[in-house]
Assembly symmetry: C2
Homo-oligomer: 140 residues x 2
């Protein structure tokens, strides 16, 4: 039988919170005709990076996304004009993924929907509690 210790309940709670939040945010993005969260994550990592440019391998590590999955995501995002894929000068097998102006604009537009949806879904979670959550979750 499954244990009902608090540790195990924490896992259940994490799952449910994650699901509720992502459902709310994805729903809001879709309703606004905007791309998925995974696209936002890529755009945001690029925007934070120096020169708005990263290698797929670096994105892979930051997003905890499997390689084959990221490869095709980048292909789709390049087709949509949000990023450019160019050959890497110092490594012949590598790519350099660069954020385009369109990509930057799209990320900004997405945040105008994403941010409020997140705030709304987080409900009455106050700042101190949130900080406490972060501290405990990061120890997992």
């Amino acid at each position: 039988m499954s244990e009902t210790k608090a540790r195990h309940q924490a896992w259940i709670a994490i799952n449910r919170a994650q699901k509720r939040l992502s459902d709310a945010i994805e729903g809001a993005l879709k309703a606004a005709g905007l791309p998925q969260l995974s696209w936002y994550d890529v755009l945001w990592e690029l925007e934070k990076a120096p020169d708005c440019c990263l290698r797929p391998v670096e994105l892979e590590a930051r997003l905890l996304m499997p390689q084959h999955n990221l490869s095709r995501l980048l292909t789709r995002m390049a087709a949509a004009g949000l990023v450019d894929k160019t050959r890497c000068p110092d490594d012949g097998r590598g790519q350099r993924v660069v954020l385009t102006d369109g990509g930057r604009r799209t990320r900004t537009r997405m945040w105008t929907v994403y941010g409020p949806a997140l705030d709304d879904a987080l409900g009455k979670l106050n700042e101190p509690d949130a900080g406490d959550l972060v501290r405990k979750l990061d120890r997992i």
Copy 2:
């Protein structure tokens, strides 16, 4: 630009914790040649239910899983002999999903892998902290 308030960081932390935990557990299950977590969730809900029997609509609500998705999951699980799908006596359009003996055994075997993998992945999260996490996450 994205805000960096604790509330928003909590969302990031929830995501990362959820991803790390589920990757660890799914990996352990796969390595043991066992089905996915979603299968476990169905089996466990059925085992908790009176007569080990629920309607798809009820499962849908408890698992927060979209209808079309659950429909096909149940089809696969029935094909694998873990559940039986029978017509519902009091509602002509409904189904009754019943746990089979094989389903019960499979859930038990899964837990022998799932439980330890979860304990391991939760690391040094102690009981009081876990209880606190549950309380705060459930308020979201």
